[in-house]
């Protein structure tokens, strides 16, 4: 590492622009797929809670598929495979609207939804049965007892796992590189191959990733402290 020179990257407008755009793209993918994953996870959870064997099977299959197939492969299947089955009009629309980014959001979001919904489900399952009974005995309906009694506790229980999986999701955004999204990892590889300042380029990206991940963990820690059930050990 003859001369470590971060400024060689940061001061060069084209490089700093690439880095900035990469970071933006990464955050866009992470945020987009997080929202999708949360929404989908809630849907999966609700479907799974309905007393319907078939619905339960379908959700179990969904979860099983997404947990047993590598995320990168899911991404490839979406981008190369499923995309090819779409009607021309949709293909065209997607291409104009940055298909790579949209499809990576879809792939990562749907994948992580499986993890999120399992986290929420075990959060729900770890509530003692007496809670639901008490709510019913007081006359709360299903929705009411979910809303005021079960979910507030389930979410608290699930926060640590959800935070860990959110960090995973954020890190997985780097896989979008493999389908040509110009996110952070893609950007630093590009910068590296143009500037040949490997150490500086990777160092930058590593620090950026680490800071974001630690931030997510910190927010998670804050959330669970903030909403900790008072008095619980």
């Amino acid at each position: 590492m003859k001369d470590f020179d971060l400024l060689a990257i940061l001061l060069k407008p084209e490089f700093s622009a690439m880095l900035w755009h990469g970071l933006q793209e990464t955050l866009k993918i992470a945020a987009g797929s997080w929202l999708l994953a949360m929404a989908m996870a809630v849907v999966l959870l609700v479907v799974r809670l309905t007393p319907n064997r078939l619905a339960e099977r379908v959700v179990a299959g969904y979860v099983s598929y997404h947990r047993n197939v590598p995320t990168l492969v899911q991404l490839m299947l979406w981008y190369f495979g499923i995309f090819s089955l779409l009607p021309d009009a949709l293909q065209g629309w997607l291409s104009v609207h940055n298909a790579e980014t949209i499809l990576s959001i879809v792939a990562l979001g749907l994948c992580q939804a499986a993890y999120f919904s399992e986290d929420m489900r075990s959060g729900l399952r770890s509530i003692p049965p007496g809670q639901a009974e008490a709510a019913r005995a007081l006359g709360h309906g299903y929705i009411g007892s979910m809303r005021h009694v079960m979910l507030p506790q389930a979410i608290r229980n699930a926060v640590p796992a959800l935070v860990n999986h959110s960090v995973s999701l954020f890190k997985n955004s780097s896989l979008a590189m493999a389908i040509g999204v110009a996110e952070l990892t893609h950007a630093v590889k590009e910068i590296e191959s143009q500037s040949f300042r490997t150490f500086e380029a990777y160092g930058m990206a590593t620090v950026l990733y680490l800071v974001c991940s630690l931030l997510i963990m910190a927010v998670g820690g804050w959330l669970s402290r903030r909403y900790r059930i008072v008095g619980a050990r």
Binding site: A134, A135, G139, G144
Partner: protein, 256 residues
């Protein structure tokens, strides 16, 4: 939701007619016929596994029955009905659990206010005033802002009673309310129950506290193997139990 015609008189609060209940192929309740009158305090006792919890839980339909009719304040609890109607009925039946089952994420006050506000649509200020009043009654005014995990077992159970009372139920059911408590806390809970009884609350209470039964109960029901074997006033029951099973049960208790 209208009272159905039934053979019980106007002074009947709970009426069990031919109740049968099965868990798989185990019969937990067999042909139970019994009545709790308005203002009456009934203590249910019997050996472990005899079906006491099952019986009391059928009253607010936490357990479904296989056959029979159960009237609560004139309403047929186990009739087919919408879940909204069932919830409405349940909200009028006070139930106190052995393990308190307070909502740990809510403060004591919020525990008491939640159901009046959400189920009965009582206004927040009214719910709060009523909750404060109930806390006063169970002697815990100073704990309004505390969370369940910060309370002793006895305090939690008293909050649970206040929470049930907040729905202004015409009757209260207790399933072994003191058996999860350390001995020094049993007294405080029993004394709240005693005061409820003396205020004329209709109560059905599963308990092993025989002193409480002796002093407070109007009737004692003795259960074994899913049947009520004996119904008597406490003097008779404790003095000269009729059924041999009850005799054995009482003598076992005294051997302690």
């Amino acid at each position: 939701m209208n009272p159905v015609p039934h053979p019980a008189g106007d002074d009947t609060m709970i009426l069990f007619s031919n109740i049968n209940k099965w868990y798989g192929d185990y019969q937990a309740l067999a042909d139970v016929n019994a009545e709790v009158k308005k203002g009456e305090v009934v203590v249910v006792c019997g050996p472990s596994g005899s079906g006491k919890s099952t019986l009391i839980r059928t009253v607010n339909r936490l357990e479904e029955v296989k056959s029979g009719q159960l009237l609560f304040d004139g309403h047929d609890i186990h009739a087919p009905m919408s879940s909204a109607a069932l919830n409405k009925l349940r909200s009028r039946i006070g139930f106190v659990f052995q393990s308190f089952n307070l909502f740990p994420h809510l403060s004591v006050l919020e525990n008491i206010m939640l159901s009046p506000m959400r189920v009965l649509s009582v206004k927040r200020t009214d719910a709060k005033a009523r909750a404060a009043q109930l806390l006063e009654r169970v002697g815990l005014s100073n704990k309004a802002g505390a969370y369940p995990a910060q309370l002793s077992g006895g305090q939690q159970q008293r909050v649970a009673i206040a929470r049930a009372l907040a729905m202004e139920p015409p009757a209260m059911l207790f399933d072994e309310p003191t058996s999860a408590l350390d001995p020094e806390m049993v007294g405080e809970v029993l004394s709240v129950m005693r005061s409820l009884a003396s205020d004329g609350m209709t109560m059905m209470c599963v308990t092993h506290e025989m002193n409480f039964a002796r002093e407070v109960a109007d009737r004692v029901w003795f259960m074994d193997a899913g049947r009520i074997l004996e119904k008597a006033d406490p003097e008779t029951f404790f003095g000269s139990p009729q059924h041999p099973r009850a005799q054995r049960f009482l003598s076992d208790l005294r051997a302690h």
